[in-house]
Symmetry: C2
Subunit: 307 residues, 2 copies
Amino acid sequence: MSLIVVGTVAFDAIETPFGKTDKIIGGAATYASLAASYFTTDIKLVSVVGDDFPRDTIKDLNRRGIGTEGLQVRDGEKSFFWKGRYHEDMNSRDTLDTQLNVLADFDPVLPESYQACEFLMLGNLSPQVQQTVMDRIEKRPRLVVMDTMNFWMESAWDELMKAIARVDVLAINDAEARQLTNEYSLVKAAQKILQMGPKYLVIKKGEHGALLFHDEQVFFAPALPLEDVFDPTGAGDTFAGGFIGYLARTKDVSFENMKRGIIYGSAMASFCVEKFGTERMLNLEQEEVEERVQEFIDLVQFDITLV
Amino acid sequence: MSLIVVGTVAFDAIETPFGKTDKIIGGAATYASLAASYFTTDIKLVSVVGDDFPRDTIKDLNRRGIGTEGLQVRDGEKSFFWKGRYHEDMNSRDTLDTQLNVLADFDPVLPESYQACEFLMLGNLSPQVQQTVMDRIEKRPRLVVMDTMNFWMESAWDELMKAIARVDVLAINDAEARQLTNEYSLVKAAQKILQMGPKYLVIKKGEHGALLFHDEQVFFAPALPLEDVFDPTGAGDTFAGGFIGYLARTKDVSFENMKRGIIYGSAMASFCVEKFGTERMLNLEQEEVEERVQEFIDLVQFDITLV
């Protein structure tokens, strides 16, 4: 079932306690679409890059079944660039440089072939752009998942509220959920966010796992305990891509199936952090994915029969 | 099956973002034995208090099946006192005052009636005292669980290593596991700790749950997402008491049963933090405990069938 992924396709420069990189391929939509490509091959990207972006990378995406008709390549302009440094805990980071470049005036044009999409992943972008994408899809998708970040809460609150009100699933991290609601308790934050419009809320807690809220229900999935986390960049986007990719493959948007999606998303994220950048996400075997999911089952399953 | 709980019985004064208390009842052995008392009624306390400690509290413990023959009451002396302030995240705290008082020269005397114990919980105390207790039990218990803290790593390393080498389960928090091994990765820390002697390692991560390691196996249980955490004091001890209490009740020290113990321990800890001090732990109904365990099942259970 077709899935549109909207978000950044970009360059990152990353420092972690394990090393640092020059400009490498990054971007929320890159990670999300790569993760989703292990579940469905009908993925359509909406993004913009400059002519500095390597054609080989676009071919890599195409080879994984990711359509790039909606990926604008702007001549004479430069791609979005982010540079950051992670602290030892890998859960916090400093932004060292942000160059919007082509993203500054991004107009998300949707090719005609994108119109029949049933699943829509709105990666972190300005809430105006996120709304424009929803406006331009004539028939509302079955499921819209949206990410955002603190920057938009501070600079575009009203537009952000309008965007959030229109989506089915908001998928943000714990700090963002707290900032969005001014509640420290994630349970209270979730109650407030579910009043803003979304029927489902995913709170990503990095190495501490993820929570899924819906009505009075809550589901928790841990992150896989790993010997080393080399680079958390893109882990949240990879998680979201695995989540919506799994839902698109199974064509089932029930709470029970979303739980499975959370597990598959967590499994994909656990691969992402094992190498710098997108390296690990380009060449996974299906068997590795299944083995990783089995590790999650083993990690949390227990057998208690209450009488 | 009989369980000895060794540790502090004390006064605490606590500040959290929700309020502050004067001197209230606290202590690792108080919390651990109260939690265990919901699973087994054959519990024997080893500790020391001054004559400032309320007799009514001792009667409360007795009413819950906790034997206090091994609780020394020292005339003319004062009980151990700790004062602390929690930060907003409730996962970190500052110690404002520590008065060792009767604990300064505590000699853990074991009454003869304690000799047949099969389960031993060594709450956080000096590793010399922890070893003395093990020395004085003639027949080694079936299972010894030990807690410790950073203070002993800094002041009594060699004795700590000797104590750790003799126990079956070490149950410490994430910061302590990192300090004990100089490894940031909890997976690597666990590998090192399992080389120190214990066959099982429990790493308590507060609101982020708990991990159980054994050989190559790992199990994770989340903390219950709560609307409010009023006071985390004693949550780790309550967790450990619920864990060993469940094992003592079921007389089964297999890895599979320890997983269940982790869930029951987590359930007990989720009650502990709902009120200041020991208040919530004194009058739980068995039914509440079972309902809480059901919430944990609902929180983490999912259904994925891999082919």
